[in-house]
Symmetry: C2
Subunit: 144 residues, 2 copies
Amino acid sequence: MTCDLCKPTSHEILWQDDFCRVVLLNDANYPAYCRVELIEHIKEMTDLAPAQRARMMKVVFSVEIALREIIQPDKINLASLGNKTPHLHWHVIPRFKDDKHFPNSHWGQARNSAMQPNIHSPSSASILSFKDKIKTHIAMNNAL
Amino acid sequence: MTCDLCKPTSHEILWQDDFCRVVLLNDANYPAYCRVELIEHIKEMTDLAPAQRARMMKVVFSVEIALREIIQPDKINLASLGNKTPHLHWHVIPRFKDDKHFPNSHWGQARNSAMQPNIHSPSSASILSFKDKIKTHIAMNNAL
């Protein structure tokens, strides 16, 4: 079985290096939903060496900071599940009180029967700014 | 509104220091489901200083290692959501192919209509061993 995350991504790449990449999922209900994907096919965080775990988390937290700056969500959700695709990836999901599932997990029961207007979508201009912010925060976090 | 995580916990504490605690949730479907709870009432990981983020993640990963050693799950799920309780806590959930929701998120749709036998429950003996392992791995991770 070929792993979906080992294939070239079909999503917009916001940032990448030789270790991991940040992609924008274009989820209809969560337009600023990002994923941080490890390049190598590794299953669990604790299969990585401690320094690599820290490296991946710095990218996750950099995306979180950039998302908070760009779209001011009511909450950030972070998750590494991988039950269907056991190749390390972190979901970084900006949540809003009027989104489809809030306050449930976005994997849980929907609370709003009608889809909310796409008001929390980053514009083309803010995607450029978002990319810059991710890059800046990764550099800052790595310098610490 | 009083925050549930600011109150004394009703769960068994597996490990704690002045920064965070590890509790066993005694979830009927996920008997080894743990939560790492920050002591202070803080909402987002990036509200913490980078060194504190790393400190919390070291505890999360120590619990992951201990769970893998004790019960050999098919997958570990990690998540920090906090939509209902915006006080930092990490879900550390050992998942099995025969558990109630696999491969869905445990917040998602159940896949097994009947509850599975409680075969992945840590015994009293292994809870003691689990506590020791968490303590050991936190000490090891902090020494790195």
